[in-house]
């Protein structure tokens, strides 16, 4: 943890003088975190280094959907649950992927496998309704996804070595 504390101190001092430094700092801290999220103790470190109230840090982190407060898997699967995708079967797709990975969505609509290989979450709409149903895997958007297509892609990712 000590190394991580030094790393965070370095991130803070790199951005400190810039206007609106907090967002850049939080982004860098999340990016350099092993599981791509902002754990409580790392937020405390940032607040302390920067001299910002803890309440303010938490306000910013909970406002932006970009910030994660839970550990993320190596691969992130984003299932669109907008109206168009719904009418073209996004619910069975979601159920399927959760079933394949053996996980269930929490109250925030997110689930991560215990080995941190996969995170599944939903969004309201990608704005790609003509291509519904739409699923993003590691920020690459796949259109007109079928159960077979999805299963193949996940199997391919599972077969890959961790970190590869």
């Amino acid at each position: 943890m000590n190394d991580r504390a030094n790393e965070i101190a370095a991130i803070v001092s790199k951005h400190r003088e810039r206007h609106g430094a907090l967002l850049s700092i939080l982004e860098a801290v999340q990016r350099t975190n092993e599981h791509n999220y902002l754990p409580k103790q790392e937020l405390v470190m940032v607040a302390k280094e920067l001299g910002v109230p803890l309440s303010q840090i938490y306000s910013v982190v909970t406002f932006y959907a970009f910030f994660n407060l839970k550990a993320q898997g190596e691969h992130v699967i984003t299932v669109c649950r907008g109206t168009a995708c719904h009418t073209r079967g996004s619910k069975p797709l979601l159920d399927n992927v959760l079933h394949m990975l053996g996980i269930e969505l929490d109250e925030d609509g997110m689930a991560t496998t215990p080995d941190y290989r996969f995170t599944v979450h939903t969004v309201a709409c990608f704005g790609q309704c003509a291509l519904a149903p739409v699923i993003a895997i590691d920020e690459v958007i796949h259109s007109m996804v079928t159960e077979e297509k999805l299963a193949t892609m996940i199997e391919a990712l599972s077969a890959r070595k961790e970190g590869a």
């Binding site: 405390v44 302390k48 109230p53 803890l54 309440s55 840090i57 938490y58 306000s59 909970t62 406002f63």
Partner: protein, 593 residues
Amino acid sequence: MDRKMITLSVDGKTVTVPEGTRILDACNVAGIKVPSLCYLEDVSAHGSCGICVVEIDGYKRLVRSCLHTVKQDMVIHTHSNRVMSARKLNLELLLANHPLLCTTCERNLNCELQALALQLGVRESRFERTKKSIRPIDDSSPSIVRDPNACILCNRCVEVCANVQEVHAIEMMQRGLRTTVSTFFDEGLASSVCTNCGQCSLVCPTGAITEKSHESAVFDAIADPNLVVLVQTAPAIRVGLGEAMGLGEGSLVTGKMVSALRTLGFDRVFDTQFSADLTIMEESHELIQRLTNGGTLPMITSCSPGWIKFIETFYPDQLEHLSSCKSPQQMFGSIAKTYYAEQAGIDPRNIRVVSIMPCTAKKFEAGRSEIDSAFSYWRDKGSFTDDEYFCDVDYVLTTRELARMLKRIGIDFAHLEDGKFDDPLGQSTGSAVLFGATGGVMEAALRTAYETITKTKLDALEFEQIRIGAGIREATIMIGETPLKVAVANTLANARVLLDQIQEGKSPYAFIEVMTCPDGCLGGGGQPIPTNKEIRRKRAMSIYEEDRGMPIRKSHENPSIQELYTSFLKQPLGHLSHQLLHTTYVKRGAYPE
């Protein structure tokens, strides 16, 4: 300070106001009170409620009058049909997500949302609730209870915490439908930097923020025939309680308050002002000792528990500046359960001490673990064992809680005859009543320190330059030939200024008084709602009036205090004083380790 004047028309009436005046305030000048659920003078201008909209000629949209300032020749309409239906619509939208549980709400009949629904003629709830989840109530704090479900997200509490107190315990979290006021990781106020000052409860327009109630526990104690229940009343109650009982702003109701407490069933009606005099004895001697023995200066007062938690949290390296004196509330508790118990022949285990305080932080203070000296006194004598532990102060009621209890038993407060406090812990001086206003502890201490140091009589008792006024006031007081530089601060944001000065080694003062709340305890977080600048000023005037009318106006001349020293404590700062009247502080820090 010559500001340009702006002339404009409000509902056809011409008004002239200084440049920079908010439209809402200009309407006030024209005799129209534009309603708002979020705007609060000197506290919050957030524009979140959308109730204060007005129509302006030449403007396409309605304008939130709390956010915009006047312009020359503006033509404003405050109650056109368009304005009135927009206000009603915005209110109905707020009501859609507000639990309509008015009859069981603490703020029933004193709720801005409820009052506005009545005022604007909202008779039905047309909209369905959009918020999906019920949020947990935060009752982690010993002082404050937050119910996010009753919150209308007006932002007043966030702003008073951040700007008036510079504490930042709470913030707006999440966004959209999930937006809520909360603490870091929703851990609750108790684990936050909250100082328990309760200013948030004072500005909340609804029942979302209230004090943690001790009302039932006090009714139970009174009903228990085996207990002797003593009540003590803080100075600021006598200038606040009347308002909550339907009398005018700042009414001075000392005698009625005493009668009401007796009617409620307390066995003895005593006064925190007695122990305020005692505080002055100890604190002025501590100051003299620090001045003559090269102790840490400036010395800072320690009566205000919000301030104590503030310095422990944000300036833990400066605790040696704090006077070691307990607050008057705690001094009362330890004297009541030792000296008074012995004198009256009552087993201290059967005594319950109830405080009436203008303050929510006093509830926290009463539970501080380092304060248990009456019990240690008896244990050291071999009277009791550890498992018979009792604390010095058992229950703390705010002014608001007391008013509710009095209403519950149906007391006709306005027509009560004046009662008198019981002896000996009910006797006090003009100095003691000053504790209720900012600068009062300083003034009281100076009256006693002056006469103790110079051994001559002080004739000019009233130190006008440190009385209610700016957030920070300073003065140089001549104690004989020696100048004593002092400062007085109210609100924690102002306290920060003086602490930063100390931190930089630039503090020119020997003695500083800090009060947590605006204008001191009379503006405390447990006082009646509403409390605003004008009401605070009226309460202060009553405090000064009470001081002027007291037969004895210096703490060291209080005969009951003199008797307490003669027969029990022996001398200020003596061995027993240290055990019973002084305390220690905790280094907390603003960030968890």
